[in-house]
């Protein structure tokens, strides 16, 4: 277990946790927030995998603009999921 692997394990755990949160929240705004956190961690993971180009792209497009687009779409539709 090298330190890098430990670090990766933590990050990947965080990725899975945020992904579960994205799916689990009934409030779409919270989902979007969790998605932004997911993108953040994903970019850090790319960074760890020695892909800085991809990390910048994921940072710029994934975390910044996708969040904005999701928020605008939620504003254009409605905020809460339907009850089953």
């Amino acid at each position: 277990m090298t330190p890098l692997l430990l670090l990766q394990a933590l990050l990947l755990l965080g990725l899975i946790v945020t992904a579960v949160l994205v799916i689990a929240f009934k409030d779409l705004l919270s989902s979007a927030i969790a998605f932004a956190a997911f993108s953040l961690l994903l970019a850090l993971e790319f960074y760890l995998l020695q892909a800085p180009d991809v990390a910048i792209a994921e940072a710029g497009i994934g975390a910044g603009l996708t969040t904005a687009i999701f928020i605008i779409a939620i504003r254009g539709t409605k905020r809460y999921e339907e009850k089953d």
Binding site: I33, L41, L44, Y47, G60, A63, R75
Partner: protein, 84 residues
């Protein structure tokens, strides 16, 4: 274990802790606060990792990150304030 990697590991653990607030946060505003904290921690770890990997140019990723997640936060805040 180099000191840089140790630092990043601690920061990653802190991110996981902040995710607790992301999960629990009674309101969306609390979740945004957690997102903001994770965001700061990610930027810090990116800067530290640049030193850890001896890759000077990786700091660019951190700058992009600090800029772009700010935009995401602003969009969320604007929606949350009912102004979008």
């Amino acid at each position: 274990m180099s000191i840089w990697l140790f630092t990043v590991t601690v920061l990653a653990a802190l991110m996981l802790l902040a995710m607790v607030r992301l999960f629990k946060g009674p309101t969306s505003a609390d979740r945004v606060v957690a997102l903001d904290a994770i965001n700061t921690l990610v930027v810090a770890s990116m800067i530290v990792l640049a030193a850890a990997f001896r890759q000077i140019l990786f700091v660019d990723v951190a700058i992009v990150y600090a800029l772009l997640s700010f935009v995401g936060t602003l969009y969320i805040a604007k929606y949350l304030g009912g102004e979008l």
